[in-house]
């Protein structure tokens, strides 16, 4: 996304001069820009993932700065630790780039706050009415029951979850008295970095490759990134039950493709109700739908009376790679676009 008035980008997929980063996931925080602006927790994450450099500038939530006449502030998006909505104001016209967000308070990411605006740029990863999340308390009850059940059956419990965000959310909401919890090295690293910037994440052992003790993981829960599915690394926990935490687990087809024993519908993106309520809460007139079922979601919003349209971005599998620039939609005064 490019702001032509302010001459900066938000979440650019390649190196630019000035980049504002909404959150630390790899499809948003990319290498190669000269100057980065992000929430301090996101900066900590970038330090781990993109390497330590000195061109990261931290900006706390609700603090305001000005770039080329555009007033910029960050606001909690509730997606993962440090995730931000980016508010842009120019001559009284307000746009909010929602980034990735969810409306449910997960207890560890600072909870989503609606930001009043004229134009809201909304993701719609789960922008269909088939996606309706249960409250996370219910999901975690399911996870604990599954874990206890596995313990009785003599199985280790392996949970696949994104290293950044989902893993910390799960750890935060686990009852650690249920049994030992181990983490994959990538999660261990991130947890350490986040603890260093003051996040309250319990210190959990990482899976130690040098220890060859079959019984070690019997009652344990192991949290690993999705990329470890089917890997030799996983085999050491055998016999185990494989649980996958993802919004996609809502569909039977996706779950079977993952070959998971158990799917937990736990997402860091807003569900259908969440998306609709978030948009309503901004009081906006215009919505730009990105990331997901953009065409369908925009058509739905138009029926609801919004001026809504779909915007292609690079990281949608359905789309060809195109230069990612906001369309030249100008308001009557030709101001912000």
């Amino acid at each position: 996304m490019y702001c032509s008035v302010g001459q900066f980008y938000i979440d650019p997929y390649k190196g630019v001069d000035k980049a504002i980063i909404s959150h630390g996931h790899g499809d948003h925080a990319r290498y190669g820009s000269k100057h980065y602006l992000a929430h301090p927790d996101t900066v900590a994450i970038m330090n781990v993932r993109l390497g330590k450099v000195n061109n990261y500038q931290g900006l706390e939530y609700d603090e305001e700065i000005n770039i080329n006449g555009v007033k910029i502030s960050l606001h909690p998006a509730g997606h993962i630790i440090g995730s931000s909505q980016v508010r842009l104001e120019y001559q009284g016209e307000v746009w909010v780039f929602g980034g990735d967000y969810k409306t449910e308070d997960d207890g560890i990411s600072q909870a989503f706050v609606p930001v009043p605006c004229h134009t809201f740029i909304s993701e719609c990863t789960f922008g269909l009415p088939i996606y309706n999340w249960k409250p996370q308390a219910e999901i975690f009850e399911d996870i604990h029951n599954w874990w206890l059940n596995n313990q009785q059956r003599g199985l280790a419990s392996v949970i696949l979850a994104y290293s950044l965000g989902k893993a910390q959310r799960i750890i935060h909401n686990l009852d650690l008295n249920t049994g030992p919890v181990y983490t994959h090295g990538s999660i261990y690293q991130l947890n350490k970095a986040l603890r260093e910037v003051g996040q309250n994440i319990p210190e959990l052992p990482k899976v130690d490759l040098s220890i060859k003790n079959k019984g070690l993981y019997r009652n344990a829960l192991i949290i690993a990134p999705p990329s470890s599915a089917g890997s030799p690394w996983l085999k050491r926990f055998s016999p185990f039950s494989l649980g996958v935490c993802s919004g996609w687990m809502a569909l039977r087809g996706s779950k079977r493709r993952q070959a998971a024993d158990k799917g937990f519908v736990l997402s860091d993106h807003a569900d259908w109700v969440g998306l609709n309520s978030a948009i309503a809460a901004t009081g906006c007139e215009r919505v730009i739908a990105t990331h997901g079922y953009t065409q369908i979601f925009a058509a739905w919003l138009r029926e609801k009376g919004y001026d809504a349209f779909a915007q292609k971005t690079l990281f949608e599998d359905e789309e060809q790679s195109k230069e990612e620039v906001l369309p030249n939609v100008e308001n009557e005064n030709g101001e912000v676009n």
């Binding site: 009415p129 088939i130 569909l251 087809g253």
Partner: protein
């Protein structure tokens, strides 16, 4: 119905055979009599009549969910399964009552006489008492689309383990047209007398495709080779003065072949013959295409019977003189069969198929290449000492089919699949060239590996030209070799031809669109095929 819906989900979510058997067994041992009878009926494909069309089901579900129909359709195209879409969209139930599977089936059966409005009312009230799993299963039953990834064999194993009855006995008890409304679970599965089931066929003995070289099967003289006919595999049953004809799909098809009523007068009571119904005229078997014109027709007028005459080629005898002789050897059974059929009029509507003589395995490949001239699909190899097995067992019977016909074609449309393939583009339409034009001639769904499917899916998403609802037109670039078992004229298709059992044999990454076959090539194949070449 919560327990039945849970059973459906549990079965759906495991690939492990032993787990499935265990899950089924637990259900049969714990469910009430009526429920387990209906569950069994559903598992083996005895579905109650559809009471609501899928079009109406969509409308009701969209209305009850408070979303526009177009958004329902979009959701459906992502989920790939209508009933699952419904279960994901409906608002939470407001009624606390819970009813059993057999209660709901009873209600569905009473709907037959009700008006559309009453059915709608009943459907919405039912949904309002159900959790999401129940809603999915219930919607599948009402729209008569209930299927579960459990083979009849697994159901038989589970029943066998639960009740300590031999699997072959269970398999036999499940055959035929028992009606769940008229029989109890105990009568069907546990009772020893099979009084009621005069028409009950035996489980068909089935063959696997041969995996090794034929000469590895041992001594050639211990084997019989037969043509593998391309007709309707059937059991011809005469008991108590009545004739019953069953297809291999366990459909009673007696009425579809009125001319075979002549058999009633010529074969003795207490006889069951395994054979093939084939289109036949002037001493020759005709192509399956001829038979296809009369299958599925409700009214068989004299013209159709004249144009598509049939006979039965008999190849095995399962019951003789009211006695189950499946335990005798194939040689003994066929000896009895030969005596029976040879004693009949030469023009009888049941005949012995032409025999194949061979002394050594070396002779068979040459014989096999003549299959199409006989209108056969290849050869069957059967061990002379073999008993008539229940179902598909390895070792005694093998099928050795000729290679399929094949043609190179380009993909022009793609559509999302369903079930495990939901959300992936797996259903493709293929075209051949006619001058500069691409003429679609077939769809195919199977034949690619999971890895290829992912690759093609991704390609499709990046090469879409247009979207029409769930269908995308794509750049005509990807070439596939399409295999099929038969080809016939069709006035319903733009290409003028229709294929039997089309599937993808290979993704021809070595070929480009200029290399594909033409419509003329297809027409030539049709002409040759009809001549048996």
């Amino acid at each position: 119905m919560k327990d039945f819906a849970q059973l459906y989900y549990d079965l759906d979510q495991t690939n492990k055979t032993n787990d499935k058997v265990e899950i089924l067994k637990e259900y049969f041992l714990n469910a009430n009599e009526e429920d387990k009878k209906w569950a069994l009926a559903l598992f083996i494909g005895k579905r109650p009549k559809r009471i609501i069309s899928s079009t109406l089901l969509r409308e009701y579900a969209a209305e009850f969910s408070g979303i526009p129909l177009w958004l329902f359709e979009e959701s459906y195209s992502i989920v790939g399964d209508l009933s699952e879409t419904i279960s994901l969209l409906l608002p939470p139930p407001t009624q606390a009552e819970s009813y059993s599977l057999s209660y709901w089936i009873g209600l569905m059966q009473s709907m037959g006489k009700k008006s559309i409005d009453e059915r709608k009312e009943a459907m919405i009230q039912a949904w309002d008492t159900m959790n999401s799993q129940e809603r999915m299963v219930f919607s599948k039953i009402t729209s008569s689309t209930f299927r579960v990834g459990v083979s009849q064999n697994l159901v038989i194993r589970a029943l066998s383990q639960a009740y300590h009855i031999d699997g072959n006995v269970i398999a036999h008890r499940l055959m035929g047209n028992w009606n769940p409304n008229e029989i109890s679970f105990d009568e069907l599965i546990l009772s020893h007398n099979n009084k009621d089931l005069l028409s009950r066929p035996y489980p068909f003995c089935l063959a696997y495709p041969i995996e090794k070289q034929v000469n590895e099967l041992g001594q050639a003289t211990k084997w019989v080779a037969e043509w593998k006919w391309d007709g309707i595999r059937s059991q011809i049953i005469k008991r108590a003065g009545q004739l019953f004809i069953w297809s291999r799909g366990e459909e009673l098809i007696t009425d579809k072949f009125p001319e075979l009523q002549t058999l009633l007068n010529i074969i003795p009571d207490g006889t069951v013959i395994d054979g093939e119904i084939l289109p036949y005229s002037e001493g020759k078997v005709l192509t399956f295409n001829v038979l296809q014109t009369r299958i599925g027709r409700k009214n068989l007028n004299p013209k159709i019977l004249r144009e598509a005459p049939v006979i039965v080629y008999a190849y095995d005898l399962l019951e003789w003189d009211n006695e189950d002789i499946r335990g005798k050897t194939l040689a003994d059974r066929q000896a009895l069969l030969n005596t029976l059929v040879n004693g009949l009029d030469q023009n009888a509507q049941i005949q012995l198929p032409p025999s194949i003589y061979f002394n050594d395995w070396d002779e068979l490949p040459a014989i096999r290449t003549k299959s199409r001239a006989y209108m056969a699909e290849g050869l069957m190899l059967k061990r002379k000492e073999s008993i008539y097995q229940v179902g598909r067992k390895k070792g005694d019977w093998w099928k050795w089919k000729i290679d399929p016909l094949s043609i190179d074609a380009v993909m022009i449309y793609a559509q999302r699949g369903s079930g495990r393939r939901a959300n992936l583009y797996t259903d493709y339409t293929f075209a051949v060239k006619n001058g500069e034009e691409f003429v679609p001639f077939t769809k195919a769904y199977s034949g690619l590996t999971d890895k290829e499917i992912l690759e093609v899916d991704k390609w499709i998403k990046f090469h879409t030209k247009e979207k029409f609802g769930p269908v995308r037109t794509v750049d005509p670039q990807l070439v596939f070799e399409i295999g099929f078992e038969g080809i016939q004229k069709s006035s319903r298709h733009k290409s003028g031809i229709a294929l039997r059992f089309p599937r993808m044999l290979r993704w021809r990454t070595d070929k480009v669109v200029n290399d594909i076959n033409t419509l003329e090539d297809l027409q030539q194949m049709l002409a040759q095929y009809e001549k048996g070449l």
